[in-house]
């Protein structure tokens, strides 16, 4: 494998946290509210991933995301468990792609409950698809400078333009001059 012993890898203890034990329909049902509840944490994590392009450097941000998700789902379980169950069940069984449109009635009940008890309003249509400006606390990543090669390859003489001797058999494009 490419990973050597010199490569820094986080230990298992650093990487082991409590994960979110929820299946796809549940995640999909809660996606919009979760995205709004953990908006800043999620943006921070995604920005870190985008800028560093290295999974090792965004572990703390990732843990924060998972922690926020756990907090959100615990709150949801405490407040709107039945509504959430019915809605996610509807999403699971109404269509083969887990579409939202067959479940508008249960969604309305669920949205109402979440808004009244947790104070999270469903974001507008296509909120997460729109471009948002997020200015986090992270320092700006350094710009990678292009590599400059000073030395010529071995055995190649460095001519200056004046020292260049004339071509032995004349110029190919003699008519251009």
């Amino acid at each position: 494998m490419v990973v050597t012993n010199d490569t820094e890898l986080p230990t298992f203890e650093e990487l082991t946290v409590e994960e979110v034990p929820i299946s796809t329909p549940g995640l999909r049902a809660a996606a919009h509210h979760f995205g709004k509840y953990c908006l800043d944490v999620n943006d921070e994590f995604m920005m870190c991933k985008q800028e560093t392009n290295d999974p090792r450097k965004c572990i703390n941000e990732g843990k924060a995301v998972t922690n926020c998700a756990l907090e959100f789902f615990r709150k949801l379980k405490g407040n709107c468990f039945d509504e959430f169950q019915i809605y996610s069940n509807c999403i699971d069984k109404s269509s083969n792609r887990m579409d939202f449109e067959p479940c508008r009635k249960t969604q309305a009940v669920y949205d109402k409950c979440v808004f009244e008890k947790m104070g999270i309003e469903r974001p507008e249509h296509g909120f997460f698809c729109k471009a948002r400006v997020y200015t986090g606390n992270r320092p700006k990543p350094p710009v990678e400078e292009p590599q400059v090669f000073n030395e010529l390859p071995i055995g190649l003489k460095d001519f200056k333009e004046e020292e260049r001797p004339p071509a032995k058999y004349g110029q190919r494009n003699w008519f251009i001059k």
């Binding site: 990487l15 998972t66 998700a69 939202f100």
Partner: protein, 192 residues
């Protein structure tokens, strides 16, 4: 002179110029197929009554071209086509917008979930890298001169710094796993 008269189905045919073909056919059927329908009568010309056109002549042959009755005028047809197509396009575009709206909502939910899923996946990925490295260390501990992640001390990438994490290819990543795990990952689309 004698003519060949043939009686067939209560009709009598004479072998003049017009009926010669029919007579020959009947004779043929009689002689070759031994058919009993026609009866050949040899008779003299005086006893035969010549078949003549009716008085006033035959009626005229109608050879004028008859057009079918048109269903509708061409303008009406073209107009109907344009109206139907226009209405169809209108409803198609309405539906298209609706489908776009559904897709945007679905994509929005996926984007909202991406950080959560990515965070978990990254942790699992790094855990697996460490497991792979430990497994290689254990497997090759008896090989002399072997260094983990290199070929007997020669690194795969020479100019890349040590702090950079190079992600291994699929074959390297699943090298200690059963084949099925790699194939399931590589050919994931067969489960769709």
């Amino acid at each position: 002179m004698t003519k060949i008269l043939i009686s067939h189905k209560n009709k009598t045919y004479c072998s003049d110029q017009q009926n010669l073909r029919l007579v020959l056919q009947l004779l043929h059927s009689l002689l070759v197929h031994r058919s009993h329908y026609p009866v050949v009568i040899m008779a003299t010309a005086e006893r035969v009554k010549q078949d003549m056109p009716p008085k006033g002549g035959y009626r005229k042959i109608n050879f004028a071209r008859v057009f079918p009755k048109p269903f509708a005028s061409s303008r009406a047809l073209v107009g109907t086509y344009i109206v139907c197509t226009g209405v169809g396009w209108y409803f198609y575009l309405l539906n298209d917008r609706l489908v776009d709206k559904y897709q945007v909502e679905s994509r929005s939910s996926i984007i909202a979930l991406t950080p959560l899923l990515d965070a978990e996946a990254d942790r699992e990925y790094l855990k697996q890298l460490r497991k792979n490295r430990d497994a290689e260390e254990k497997l090759m501990k008896n090989v002399k001169g072997w260094k983990t992640g290199t070929l007997y001390g020669e690194p795969v990438y020479k100019t890349v710094g040590k702090d950079k994490l190079i992600e291994p290819s699929l074959n390297e990543y699943y090298v200690h796993a059963p084949d099925k795990v790699l194939f399931d990952r590589a050919y994931w689309h067969k489960y769709l």
